[in-house]
Point group: C2
């Protein structure tokens, strides 16, 4: 039996966050402008080659940090894309994803403005307004958004976008953005309050509206589908 020959293994990462715009809250992700052929000058997901001494998730974290400076606390494997014609040469790409809270992204942006050390060729794009992308990365992003919409119904996944403490309206807004449709506030409140994934705090957010209670995620809430995989397989270090 011959071995797989002429097939390279790459990793890519789709980092999703919710960004507040004048059009409301939108899903947003960082892309990197390619400086090399193939697809020079096109935008692509952060990524690079898997090296012989790295686990795929480690390579994904490394290349994400090298290109964008981002260092999420976990990366979940999304899918291995391997269509024969997805790249001019034969490349199987193992794609990871993570949800970042908007305050994490904002803190990083502020740091970059302060130091002037922002990485070049990186920009955040709204998922509903993407530029032409390299390789099959448009399809990969479409798949990530589909998985996110499917997960939000049965998991605590939307909480991954929110700061430590949040109101039910903020959580509902995150879920609505992911699903692309409005939800009934009273039904939503009943559903999440009975889900056991939230802990009500004694604090309230005050402002223009009537005070809204702040919630936090239950420490039991598992935002990633880790399952029984070893730490070696799943964790970044």
């Amino acid at each position: 039996m011959t071995r797989s020959s002429g097939i390279d293994v790459a990793v890519s990462t789709a980092i999703l966050t919710l960004r507040r715009t004048d059009r409301g809250v939108v899903l947003s992700l960082p892309l990197v402008r390619r400086t090399r052929e193939p697809f020079a000058d096109r935008w692509a997901l952060p990524g690079g080659w898997l090296t012989a001494t790295e686990a795929p998730v480690g390579a994904a974290a490394r290349t994400l940090a090298e290109t964008t400076g981002l260092a999420p606390s976990y990366l979940e494997q999304l899918y291995a894309f391997g269509a024969v014609d997805r790249s001019p040469s034969r490349v199987v790409s193992i794609v990871y994803w993570a949800l970042l809270r908007s305050d994490q992204v904002d803190a990083q942006s502020a740091e970059y403005r302060r130091t002037g050390l922002a990485p070049e060729n990186v920009r955040w794009f709204d998922a509903d307004d993407l530029p032409p992308l390299a390789f099959d990365h448009a399809q990969i992003i479409e798949y990530a958004l589909w998985r996110l919409r499917n997960k939000v119904g049965y998991s605590r996944v939307a909480q991954g976008f929110l700061p430590e403490e949040f109101t039910l309206a903020e959580l509902r807004e995150a879920v609505e953005t992911i699903l692309g449709r409005r939800l009934d506030p009273a039904n939503f409140r009943r559903q999440v309050e009975s889900s056991g994934t939230l802990i009500a705090t004694d604090e309230f957010r005050t402002g223009n509206h009537r005070p809204a209670r702040l919630y936090r995620s239950s420490p039991d809430a598992e935002l990633a589908d880790r399952g029984p995989l070893s730490s070696e397989e799943m964790s970044i270090r």
Copy 2:
């Protein structure tokens, strides 16, 4: 930037079915005895190398057919395993899985008995009584069973194990086997009847017990998580 070097890409397949034994119904899967180093004589998941002209799912279907004669109608990607030390040489393995109905497995076994053309070095094992396995295949199977238990709660996945028509007791038995615990029959009936995933037929199974209505899966029931992936990426041909 250098390319991934010295990394081979393999595919493996975990085919699960429910087998009726004198201990009740058990999850069962086919393994292939290795004839080569590394891990010669150890049992392993069916699989082989990805070749340059195949999509990974095509390679998984081909190697599954070559080693076991099985040809399920779809394979879903489970996970790409790539820990540095999972094999003596560096191998990333893209693992697919499928659920087979026991009548499909029985029909194939009968055909093999009739023709005497059963593939060598293949045997079905009960998931709770596995032999020592090659590579990280014990971990891969553990992960597949964990995903199956997680899916059964929110999807129609258990129906993938059953013949075209089945009783609610048979469906409940399948779910109970996956979850490893008993379910309340009345609650189970209420839950699946309200799920919209079943169609009640006008036929009944008669026998030692009182007649039990036969059901079939709704044609809308999607057993695989295909999402917006192109047919090229997901379908076997």
